[in-house]
Symmetry: C2
Subunit: 505 residues, 2 copies
């Protein structure tokens, strides 16, 4: 096929085309999803109604005392035992007053993103305990050095729209030091929106002190918060978790936007039937929203309903199947239908190698979630091994994959001009091809994405160049970035102050 | 995560679960698509109207004499030069009288599929000239032996719903011998629905003689045709191809159902703007339909509008991008909207290696086309290297990938039972988990797909087992099949007769 075109097009035209600079990124982050609707309207209503029924009849257990007081004041009702039930009116009030859309700031304001509507952004969200070593091709425990390296690697990847610490520094044994050094690694290596977890509520205040340093002074962080917290306030099925709820109070006090994650697992902590699973996990995420509503109505919360799948043969979490694609797409659809900012988890793979399995599982799950309109798609970059692993090579490959997805999401502009009747007429009655015509020149950079890592050569050229696979090309690219990109986004004074105050490792 | 579940679930329950037999395939071929709608209704109408305008104003060039007579008799109009135009009424009549749904027979009737509606089937359609050698991991020219091996390999892959010869036997120089030996390889090695190409019209009759032998006697094939022809009667932009039109006449005479393929290339033989591209390629595929209508109204034709993408930097065909996903999904949507049996091409990759690039490109393009409801998704199995290559390993991996896609397509059954209110209540007020409960047992095999090739082990187990990647596992699986599956679907007498009549190599 290439031969035929080449003959027609002519070398000169082709060279002119290759020399042309991209005018605009054809498919930047923030494309609109929503064209894939896994559930019909009446099904959305049924799932929602079941979630409301669960909250009004069964409610939530193990409610911490402070939250119990706030919830009762907001309209929750005492139920059997220690459970609190949420009347439908309370849940509807929480939805009505929720933040529907808000800016998730980068320290660099150019990197801020607006969360909500049908806009889709990929980012990270993992807590891998192992890193795929680039030299051995095998896994080893993740370290603080890995976290620094991942942070500066993703800093140049344009489709990672925010960076949550993707791995846990397992070489930092103390919980407080771990939380502190995690945030320090994010501050030092990137000015994108960032996110972290707080092991305990009492870690929040001191870390806000560090965030204030990076923001330019006491109280400055809260004015334009560039870090959000990942919290799982609900333990499935239908209970609150005390420490996490404590973190929620602290985050709200310090104006830290929150991603409240429900991570129920099908057949283990939620029903195995997909509809029941969705109903329960929707109810649980609504329980987080009601909690936020009771504490501070309208406080920014990403409604992160991540339906996770368990391989029921082994009981092990599995992130790469069709069920994961479907459930997370349905979760995104449900959340967007409620008008809330949606968070889902996709592009997780069960593969350990950066191989065809990883590609298929990441491609299918992330496209499904994006087409359904997931606002923030967590776990989307660099994660491997059922979220147990993080990989530098996967990071750069995922970044390119997201461009394919964004290109798909962008859709087809249908206008009189793009329908190109006259262009077609001219070609049919003229030269018989479209190479070199105005329509083609204008479209070639505006409408098409050209990958940097994907190999489009002929088999012979590929073999002559060493028959490399994508893993190998990604290793080279990741190594290049790590060798050349050494950002220091904290100035000397900020760094000195932070080091004087905290145990920076 | 696994640890936590294991503790709760208990070894006994897990073993009982693993021992349970699958009751039914959770996601067989033929799942319903259509939940992804890349185009809005008014956009569908605009693209269709532009296609009608192209056919009524520009029409088709290079119309072979016999077809010209038939088209004029059917209502086509003489236009400028030698072009024939198709008034809107003629096109609408062709659509109205078209076969909307038909059975594509397997020689084994159990393997027949019904084409049309929103049912989705994956199959093949390639004409690779190179084979990815399993021993060297490099490409070499495809041979007749390869074709036999591909045919018997796919015979056991349940998600390859029909088999078109995926590679060209480049060691058979004579065109007639090539066509004959291609069909012989299909007949000998599989009883699925099959498909082939005819280089010249005069090859059709003798090959039908061979098909009759396999069908049980003269005239028997036509009663239940189990082979369809792949034909590209239109040369973009908007011309007929004489040889291909000749093949169409012969196929209709012999009752061979046809896949009429439009394979326009964006920016080369069609506009680079996606809307214009779709409008032209829709017009061209409609020109095939009008042709069939003029010859034999209602004759079974798969409306195969395959919008192909060219990397405009090089002029080379590229099958793995987001544009391919989007355009083929839109093509499927357009065709289904017209009520015609749709054929699209997806799961093509530009990768040479069976690697992460291959996985991503195949996953994204095939999911998009399937969610949009492509009835027959061609090129979906075993193809690599921008359709220049075919690979045994890719075949077995693609087969498993299709199960993920089918599982996604199957969607979420929302019923009172699957919403599982009572199951949730019992778990919440009881043991606090769902392992071992009736809902889980019933769902685990009915609703979940468990892959055979995808690795879901922990990193340590994976390393202990040799840190294999998907390519390696696929190589083992393909080798196993090729060593063990030697079907001979022609009995001795049939084979003897065919060999006496044709030069079987």
């Amino acid at each position: 096929m290439a031969g035929g075109l080449r003959k027609r097009g002519g070398r000169k035209e082709r060279l002119a085309m290759r020399a042309a600079k991209p005018l605009i990124d054809p498919c930047p982050p923030g494309q609109l999803g929503g064209r894939y609707r896994p559930l019909e309207d009446h099904e959305l209503r049924q799932v929602f109604q079941t979630a409301l029924d669960l909250l009004s009849h069964l409610g939530m257990g193990e409610v911490p005392a402070r939250l119990r007081t706030d919830l009762l004041a907001a309209g929750a009702k005492q139920a059997s035992g220690d459970r609190l039930c949420f009347p439908q009116k309370l849940v509807e009030a929480a939805i009505a007053s929720a933040a529907k859309s808000f800016t998730f700031h980068g320290r660099d304001e150019q990197r801020s993103i607006v969360v909500g509507g049908d806009r889709v952004y990929f980012g990270t969200g993992g807590a891998a305990v192992q890193t795929l070593d680039m030299e051995t091709g095998l896994y080893r425990p993740s370290t603080l050095a890995d976290l620094h390296n991942f942070a500066r690697l993703q800093d140049v990847l344009q489709n990672v729209s925010w960076f949550t610490r993707c791995c846990v520094a397992t070489d930092v044994p103390d919980n407080f030091d771990l939380d502190v050094n995690t945030v320090y690694a994010l501050l030092k290596n990137t000015t994108k929106p960032i996110a972290t977890s707080f092991t305990l509520p009492e870690h929040v205040s001191p870390i806000v002190e560090m965030l204030d340093v990076a923001a330019g002074g006491r109280g400055e962080f809260a004015k334009r918060p560039f870090l959000k917290a990942h919290i799982s306030p609900v333990i499935s099925p239908l209970r609150y978790g005390e420490d996490a709820v404590g973190v929620v109070y602290e985050c709200i006090r310090h104006k830290i936007p929150m991603t409240c994650i429900t991570a129920a697992q099908a057949g283990a902590t939620a029903p195995a039937t997909l509809a029941g699973f969705l109903a329960q996990s929707l109810a649980e995420t609504l329980a987080s929203l009601v909690m936020v509503h009771a504490i501070c109505p309208g406080f920014p919360m990403i409604f992160s309903n991540w339906p996770l799948v368990v391989d029921l043969r082994t009981g092990a979490f599995s992130g790469g199947g069709g069920e994961t694609a479907l459930l997370n797409a349905a979760s995104a659809q449900l959340t967007n239908w409620l008008g809330l900012p949606s968070g889902v988890a996709c592009s997780m793979t069960d593969a350990k190698a950066v191989d065809a399995q990883a590609g298929v599982e990441k491609g299918i799950t992330s496209l499904a979630a994006a087409l359904a309109g997931g606002n923030l798609i967590y776990e989307s970059s660099g994660m491997t091994a059922s979220l147990l692993g993080a990989s530098f090579e996967a990071f750069v490959l995922d970044d390119e994959m997201h461009s394919l997805t964004y290109r798909t999401l962008r859709g087809i502009e249908v206008t009189e001009k793009s329908l190109a009747f006259e262009t077609i007429r001219d070609a049919v009655l003229g030269e018989g091809h479209f190479l070199g015509c105005e329509n083609t020149y204008q479209a070639m950079e505006r409408d098409y994405f050209y990958p940097a890592l994907a190999d489009r050569d002929e088999p012979r050229t590929w073999a002559q160049n060493g028959a490399q696979d994508a893993w190998g090309r990604a290793r080279e690219r990741a190594t290049d970035i790590l060798n050349s990109h050494h950002p220091v986004y904290l100035d000397k004074e900020e760094d000195r102050y932070i080091r004087s105050r905290f145990k920076i490792l």
